[in-house]
Symmetry: D2
Subunit: 357 residues, 4 copies
């Protein structure tokens, strides 16, 4: 169950403090130019320690391709990408070895598997998402060939946000903020959390443009269903919306329906998806992140023998996981779209005739 996707598939491995993390990307069509520098740039966008708004922990996150590429092109065979962990220093884990950190997956992993790699959260660490970004970068290379563009940014930090989305601005913002007019307040909110030894939630918006009509496989692999699964499956995500999302539950049909004209849809309340299939309009997704559970307050918890104890965090942590999380959302969106592009090629006899005749 560590495999994502149907036709564009990636399988990931690795623990936060193990020897390496990585993925096998399967189903990459042959003949794709593999731009390694681009993949590394994607890795760098997610990597920690770039600004004061992120964890101070630094990792170079250098990705290496071990297979599936020959003379710069994909060969149709699986692409293994690997990321060796650099700082495997024998840290002292005695303070978390036997207890469950509140808000983390320690409790559930321990009870599900009867054993857990407690070093830095092991497999449940957000560090796993680095492998998703590597896979997503390959997806993006495919999307680029079709001029499909996936972008992301932060719309809200701790409730401070707006509906003005400037995705170009977000690329330059240290916190990927979508609105330059409120960015400063969002930054202050993050620093305030840091000063209070606390953390803060946030919201990412992901937008895909120039998506062809027809992506999505009803009934149980609809485009919106797959996006929801991809996003909700990310660390710290607790809510996902498509288009107007929750707001549409307070609306009327006469306001919420998007009128259609020969030039296209006149509004986009739907977020570019109707009946689980892309309608050609921009796909807009909002992803709600909880505050990172790693805070520097003393917290009540139990140990593995279910005795009451308290937990005092050491180390360095992102005060607002939504920020780096937005990059991962973008990667996942890209992977979903490529998967859907491949699946949709089987949708009608006309396409089959085009390939085989």
């Amino acid at each position: 169950m560590n495999t994502f996707g149907q036709r564009f598939r990636f399988t990931t491995f690795g623990e936060s403090h193990g020897k390496a993390l990585g993925c096998i990307v399967d189903g990459v069509p042959a003949g794709l130019k593999i731009d390694e520098a681009f993949i590394q740039r994607e890795m760098d966008r997610r990597k920690p320690g770039k600004t004061k708004y992120e964890t101070g922990r630094k990792e170079s996150d250098t990705i290496e391709i071990l297979s599936g590429v020959f003379e710069g092109l994909s060969t149709g065979t699986p692409i293994e990408m690997i990321l060796f962990n650099e700082n495997q220093k024998s840290r002292d884990y005695s303070n978390i070895k036997d207890l469950f950190r509140p808000g983390h997956a320690d409790f559930t992993y321990f009870h599900k598997y009867g054993i857990r790699d407690y070093r830095g959260g092991g497999r449940s660490s957000a560090r796993e998402t680095s492998a998703r970004v590597a896979a997503g970068a390959i997806a993006k290379l495919i999307l680029q060939q079709l001029n499909i563009n996936v972008q992301s940014g932060i719309s809200e930090v701790g409730g401070i946000g707006s509906l003005d989305y400037d995705f170009e601005y977000a690329k330059k913002s240290e916190i990927f903020s979508l609105d330059s007019t409120i960015e400063q307040k969002q930054k202050e909110m993050i620093l305030k959390s840091l000063n209070e030894h606390d953390s803060i939630g946030g919201v990412a918006v992901i937008k895909a443009s120039n998506v062809p009509v027809g992506l999505g496989e009803p009934m149980y692999h609809k485009l919106d269903g797959q996006i929801a699964s991809a996003m909700m499956g990310l660390n710290a995500v607790k809510g996902v919306e498509i288009g107007d999302g929750c707001v549409s539950s307070r609306s009327k049909g006469s306001l919420n329906n998007d009128p259609i004209s020969p030039q296209g849809f006149e509004t986009n309340h739907s977020g570019g998806i109707l009946g689980g299939i892309s309608n050609g309009d921009e796909i807009v997704v909002k992803v709600y992140f909880k505050p990172t559970p790693s805070i520097f307050h003393e917290q009540k918890t139990v140990d593995v023998h279910n005795n009451a104890t308290v937990y005092n965090l050491k180390g360095r942590h992102d005060p607002c996981v939504a920020i780096r999380g937005s990059v991962v959302c973008e990667s996942m969106m890209s992977a979903v779209l490529v998967d859907m592009l491949l699946l949709n090629m089987n949708s009608k006899m006309e396409y089959i005739q085009k390939i085989y005749k």
Copy 2:
């Protein structure tokens, strides 16, 4: 792609106005008592035409089991359940045959497949969800054996709602309202929509109790990811939350983390899921439905040749799809949980030894 689930799997078929709808449920463990009356009761909860708050269209939705059950017990072989359409009268579809109804899937199905069964929305009709309820009823029979309880209700209609959830009350409410003190206002909102020839959105809450710790298969079949996919893939759903959901994006770690005591989690902001795995607490999911796109206003649209035209709806429709939709959410939640229960049986050597030694 008309198959849901990994180990508890159902595959559905059928169009709104075709000969029949139904499903094959595969992976039902052998030896389960199949209570047909219970399955029919579940069908009846979703069936249209029960109250004045629903479409006036009446269908008996009588389910018939064709295979997989012998002498009242499941045999481990696929269970086919079928629902014949009664009212296949040769209605006049000339007004929708060549145009796309705004807010519906007509446009996307037509462009994806190059052909569509335009009668009542064909496969994209919410009538398809009747097959999900049949499959979900089988899932519930399994959950009952383990004393796991899945309930649902309506928390909001057109923005009118509360956070007081009384699931027992919802069972008796004509609109499955979770709060008796606001039910009347919610009903009035629905009738107002009807009078205005409009429709209205709503929110369903689904709760699962007594779920064992350990359900969910990281990384890409996490419990929250699969729930999100199951819910977002339903007709008219535009947002899904787990636990505190979107609200947690405005919270701090010190408030949002659930402290752990020897008696269990002291709060349940997480909605019963940590790291994609159930933590033994109640699982709470909120599902946001847009207003049904079928309204009786004249709407701008195009025909299949992309010429501008207008659409005037005839027929009968639910003013608030969230109501009957909540039953389907409950069914999907049940199916997800059973699938996860089966998958989790492979999680540790201890379980394997238990079965084979």
Copy 3:
């Protein structure tokens, strides 16, 4: 696990003496003309009771399509096909209810599931293959559009056979014999088995012509691997060969390699598959059927309480299951090829550009 295929998928249901059998075929590209008469003719080729070389039991095997087809064309939605059992007379099963018929699946189904539908073998009956033929007929309709031809016939009955394959002759032969010069001897062998109240094994050959180069998805969904799985999974099949098959294990590389010339492969020892991918040559598969386990001799067995007993068969049975089995092999081969055709459409960027640009 009652679903076959990845992209062209069918899920079957039904027991030998239940209410109905059938399948849902998912992944049929939209816009395919569904020739119902053709599907019925395929059903008729497999149906029992046509000649004295088969079981005397007669069934009309009339297939009905319940969904997925609109105005004669596939719509891209699942196609349900159903076959109601006509002779559900309340036969007396007391002689087999509590014992295990040697050579049959009674023993294994009972132990796996703890319960079994003992009427006529239940789900394990070869009658299940009728659903495969229905699904295979849809596959054939797709193959016809691409001028791909799948044929079959019987090469051996009880060891009497030849390497002269005349697939046109087989179509007219009562026992689908591939060689008119030995057909009479094969028929006599079958009648001799009948007279001796015994049964006899046989071999079917399946040939696919005009298959494009490139079908097969290494490593674990290779064309030969999928064919082997499809055939070995059929009732009574105990051996599968591709091309020269077992004989090649006694050959030398210098004899077994197929030289390549600009006009194509000069020989076809490989059976049209290299590295698990079709090479454009004819695909040739041999399928070895054991004698039907249903014989009219008294046989030693045990009952469900593991007490020794004897079994005396009543009823009517095919003396040589290979004959009607060959039709099912043809259906499965067709399904595999369509699945591979669909999968292969994702193999290179060139194809993706063709569809989306």
Copy 4:
């Protein structure tokens, strides 16, 4: 499609002359002792260059575990194993770069993908099977916990063989021969092939003992079907038999049925599988390998522009791939059995109650 299995799943990557090969094994139950020395011993059994009957090419095939194991135990998370290629010397490939080696997958890979890594066969090289052996070794560690034993050996080389199988002897034999009385003749046959610059086919037998009744998931993941797929998908395999296999097609029901007594099956013509489900008896599978296509004769072929040319092989190659292939068959059989063991845990309510109550 580089993933094998449903619940015990492995995904492989790597090319013959790329940087590395390896696999991610997913679905390993937590709490399994991971004996790295055992895994390496399995690798060593398959590795080339051990005797004069194999290719002279030497590779150390040292496996390294990168994830999924903590303090010697599996954690339930994916296990990545990697094998770095040592001899990546910049060989001269000009003689094979632009032509297709007869009997190899060069032709089909090139046409399917439009590009191929021609160095040593790239992904289609039998070197890929090293990753299968690593995954199979993990499967064997699980089987050992349940006292299930999988063994293999060579029954035939170039037609020289017997039906006397001594699996203990095979372990010590340089050519894994199952019969000490004919081993010498088999060895001579191999050396004769070498001297003639030719190659020779062979047959492997795989036996699994102490397999519980009930493994196999009808209809489309039957045990025999999955074994057939696993074996036929191996390089050079052209035929697969279960139990009496092809011979049963020449038999009668009265001879071929296995009588059942309270002590078990009295004969084992079935090879331990009835109706696609294990019956508790020994599972016996025969796998037929063609002669390795790499021979030192001049061979007719074409180049990538379809011009006639000749091919003269350089390098070192196994004269009889069946020998090392038998180890891979054993690995695949082990993987299939573990997958089936996991799947079967969902077969009845009784098992579910056992785990969850």
